[in-house]
C-alpha cells in the first residue's frame, strides 16, 4: 500500500540492480533530501547547529565504519584515532596555507595510509582479537597525539582550525556549515548506496561471510580487507576534519579518544550492521537521545519540585547512553535498521499481512 509494488516488474538486470527498486523508497528519499536542503529555513539556527550538523557528520563517519565493520566484517575499535589523523593532518595543511579542498583530501589520504596499518592486524587475526588489537592501536595513537606537541599544537594540546573556505568562499555562517556537512553526508550516502551494487561491495560481503570461501571463489581477501580499511579511513579522515572545521573549531586529543571509538561503533551496531538508513537512526539515537532524556529529567524534577544533584545530572546521559545500547541490542540485535525494515515490509503489503520476498 504505502510501498506500492504493483506495476514494478524487473525484466532485465539493469532494472533489477537499481538503487531504489520500489518507487516509494525513491520518493521518500527525495522528500527527505528536500527537507535536508530546506532545513536551514525550517529549523531554528540553534538546533541546526547543535543537533543537525553533528548528526550529519557523525552519520558520514558511522557509514565509513559501517563499510569496514558491517560490509567487510572487520571489527574496528580504533576508528576515532583514524578520524584524528585526518582532522590533524588537514588542519595542519590548512594552517600551512593549502586550500581547504586539498587540505580535506590530504587529511583523507593520510588517514587512509595510517588506517591501512589497522588492516595489517586484520590480515592476521579476526573477531575478538582484531577488536583488541585495534583497541590497543587506538591507545598508541592517542599516546602519540598527546605526547607530540608538534601535532597536537603546543602545551595546551589544542589546535585552532583556520576559517573554512571552499571554492573560494569563506564559510562562516551556521547555514554554510550546515550545507557543508549535508553535502558530505549525502556524498558518503550515495557512495554507500552504490557500494552494494558494485563488484567491490559484493567482494567485501564475500570476505565478511567467510574469508577463505571468498578466496576459493577468487576474491583476494587480503586486497579487499586493505581496500575496505583504506576507504573507510578516508571517510573517517574527511569526517574528522569537517567535524573540527565546522563544529568544534578547535582540535583536541580528547575529541578522538577511546570513548569516541566506542561511541561510533555503538552508533553502527545500534543502527544495524550493513544498514545505511540504520546508521542515520543509530547516530541520532546515540548522539541525541541522552541529551533529550537529561532535559526531560530536569523538566520533570523541576515540575515535581525535586532537587537533583548537579553531579547526578552530569552522569545521567552516560547511564542512558549505556542503557540504550544494551536495550536496543536486547530488543533487536540487528539494530534499528532491521526494525525499520520490518515496518517497511509490513507496510509494503498493508492491509494484507503476508509479504513474500
Amino acid at each position: 500500500m504505502f510501498y506500492r509494488l504493483s506495476g514494478v516488474h524487473h525484466a532485465n538486470y539493469v532494472s533489477d540492480s537499481r538503487i531504489f527498486k520500489v518507487p516509494a523508497d525513491r520518493n521518500l528519499t527525495a522528500f527527505i533530501f528536500l527537507i535536508g536542503l530546506a532545513a536551514p529555513f525550517i529549523i531554528p539556527s540553534l538546533y541546526l547547529n547543535s543537533y543537525m550538523l553533528p548528526w550529519l557528520i557523525w552519520t558520514a563517519a558511522a557509514l565509513g565504519l559501517n563499510l569496514v565493520t558491517g560490509w567487510a566484517g572487520q571489527l574496528h575499535l580504533g576508528y576515532a584515532a583514524v578520524m584524528a589523523v585526518g582532522a590533524y593532518s588537514s588542519i595542519h595543511a590548512a594552517r600551512f596555507g593549502v586550500p581547504w579542498e586539498f587540505a580535506l583530501i590530504i587529511g583523507g589520504l593520510t588517514s587512509s595510509v595510517i588506517g591501512s596499518l589497522f588492516a595489517f592486524a586484520a590480515l592476521r587475526v579476526k573477531g575478538l582479537y582484531l577488536a583488541l588489537t585495534t583497541l590497543a592501536m587506538q591507545f598508541v595513537m592517542d599516546w602519540v597525539l598527546t605526547h607530540s606537541p608538534a601535532i597536537s599544537g603546543g602545551s595546551h594540546a589544542s589546535l585552532q582550525s583556520p576559517t573554512l573556505a571552499l571554492l573560494g568562499q569563506e564559510i562562516t555562517t551556521d547555514t554554510g556549515f550546515y550545507y557543508v556537512a549535508f553535502g558530505w553526508c549525502v556524498l558518503v550516502t550515495i557512495f554507500m548506496l552504490n557500494l552494494k551494487r558494485t563488484g567491490l561491495g559484493r567482494a567485501l560481503v564475500a570476505v565478511r561471510e567467510k574469508d577463505f570461501a571468498a578466496a576459493i571463489l577468487g576474491v583476494n581477501s587480503f586486497y579487499y580487507k586493505i581496500l575496505a580499511f583504506a576507504t573507510s579511513s578516508f571517510i573517517a579522515g574527511v569526517s574528522g576534519a569537517l567535524l573540527v572545521a565546522t563544529f568544534f573549531f578547535l582540535a583536541a586529543p580528547e575529541q578522538f579518544s577511546v570513548a569516541v571509538s566506542i561511541q561510533v561503533l555503538a552508533m553502527v551496531i545500534v543502527g544495524g550492521l550493513g544498514s545505511i538508513i540504520g546508521s542515520y537512526f543509530g547516530v541520532a539515537l546515540i548522539l541525541l537521545v541522552p541529551g533529550i532524556v537529561n532535559g526531560l529529567v530536569v523538566t520533570l524534577s523541576d515540575g515535581l519540585g525535586m532537587q537533583i544533584d548537579v553531579e547526578t545530572l552530569a552522569h545521567i546521559p552516560n547511564a542512558v547512553y549505556g542503557a540504550l545500547i544494551v536495550i536496543i541490542l536486547l530488543i533487536e540485535p540487528l539494530g534499528l535498521g532491521k526494525l525499520y525494515g520490518n515496518i517497511r515490509d509490513y507496510l509494503m503489503v498493508w492491509p494484507f499481512d503476508q509479504f513474500k520476498k
Partner: protein, 295 residues
C-alpha cells in the same frame, strides 16, 4: 647498572603485576565458561568498590563486614547481568556481544557516578603507608597485601575447580554442547561464572581503590587487565597470574628505560605494545587453548 634499583623495580613490578592478575582473573573466569570477552569488568570493578564504600560509609558497617556483604551483592548483580542481558545474546556474532558488554560498562559507570558522584573517595583499609624495606629495596605494603589477595584467589579458584561445581564449570568451558547433553545446566554455570567474576571485581575494586582512590579511573584498568588476560591465554587462570607478573615487570622496568627517552608516560604505550605483539605473535597467549582461527 644499578642492580639494587633494578631489582626494586622488578619486585614492585611483580607486585603490581599480581594486582593486574587480580583484575584479569575476573575476565578469564567469564571467558573460560562462555567465550564472552567481558569488557564490562572495569565497570564491575568500579561498582564493587563503590558498593563497599556505600556499605561502609553510608550504612556505617565496619569494613570487614562491608566487604563480604558487597561480595554477596555483587554475586547477585553478576548473576542478574548474565540472566537479563548476556543469555539473550548467546550464539550471536562476537561483535554484538562485545558491544553489549561495552554498553554495560558505560551503563554501570554512568549509574554508579550518577548515584555516588564523581569525586574521588578513599577506601581507608587501614594498611599502613609506611614503606617496607627489604634490605635496600623499598616495597609498598598495600601492593604486598594486594598481591597476597591475588595469590589467595588463585589458589582458591584452583581448589574450587576441583569441587563438583568447579568440575561442571570446566566441562562447560571444554564443550558446552556435550555438557548440556549429560545434564549440566550450562545457563547456571555461565551465570555462576559471571557471579564469581563480580566477586573478584570486589576484591580488585577494594585493593585498587585503596591504591588510587575510588573513582572513574578504576574502570581504566580494563586495558591492562585485557592485556594480562590475552597474554596469559584468555581461558587460563594460571596464565593470568603469570602474565600479570610478566606485564608488571616489563612495564615497570621498561617505563624506567623509556620514560627519559620519550618524556614520561610510556606505561600505557608499553601495555598497548605488549597487547599488540601478543595478538600478532601468539594470539592464544602463553597457556591458552589453540583453537583460535587464523586468517
Amino acid at each position: 647498572m644499578d642492580w639494587v634499583f633494578l631489582s626494586e623495580l622488578a619486585i614492585n613490578g611483580v607486585l603490581t603485576g599480581l594486582l593486574y592478575s587480580l583484575f584479569a582473573i575476573g575476565l578469564v573466569l567469564i571467558y573460560k565458561a562462555s567465550s564472552v570477552p567481558n569488557l564490562a569488568q572495569g565497570g564491575l570493578t568500579m561498582v564493587g568498590a563503590y558498593v563497599v564504600l556505600a556499605l561502609a560509609r553510608d550504612v556505617g558497617l565496619p569494613l570487614w563486614l562491608a566487604i563480604p556483604l558487597a561480595a554477596v551483592v555483587m554475586f547477585g548483580l553478576g548473576f542478574g547481568i548474565e540472566r537479563v542481558a548476556l543469555r539473550r545474546l548467546a550464539g550471536r556474532p562476537v561483535v554484538m556481544i562485545l558491544m553489549l558488554t561495552l554498553g554495560l560498562d558505560i551503563f554501570l559507570r554512568g549509574t554508579t557516578l550518577a548515584i555516588w558522584g564523581g569525586t574521588s573517595r578513599s577506601m581507608e583499609l587501614g594498611v599502613s603507608y609506611d614503606p617496607l624495606f627489604l634490605g635496600d629495596i623499598f616495597i609498598s605494603r598495600i601492593h604486598l597485601v594486594g598481591a597476597g589477595v591475588a595469590l589467595a584467589l588463585f589458589v582458591a579458584f584452583m581448589l574450587f575447580f576441583r569441587t563438583r561445581t568447579g568440575i561442571k564449570l570446566r566441562a562447560i568451558a571444554d564443550d558446552y554442547m556435550a555438557s548440556w547433553s549429560v545434564g549440566i545446566s550450562v545457563e547456571r554455570g555461565v551465570g555462576l561464572s559471571w557471579a564469581l567474576a563480580s566477586v573478584v571485581a570486589v576484591a580488585a575494586g577494594v585493593i585498587w581503590g585503596e591504591i588510587q582512590g575510588v573513582d572513574q579511573a578504576l574502570s581504566l584498568l580494563l586495558l591492562k587487565g585485557l592485556t594480562v588476560a590475552v597474554l596469559g591465554g584468555l581461558d587460563s587462570i594460571l596464565g593470568a597470574v603469570i602474565a600479570g607478573i610478566i606485564l608488571g615487570v616489563v612495564e615497570n622496568v621498561g617505563a624506567d628505560f623509556l620514560d627519559p627517552l620519550v618524556g614520561g608516560g610510556s606505561r600505557e604505550l608499553i601495555v598497548a605494545a605488549v597487547l599488540i605483539l601478543t595478538v600478532m605473535i601468539r594470539p592464544h597467549g602463553l597457556f591458552g587453548r589453540h583453537d583460535i582461527e587464523r586468517v
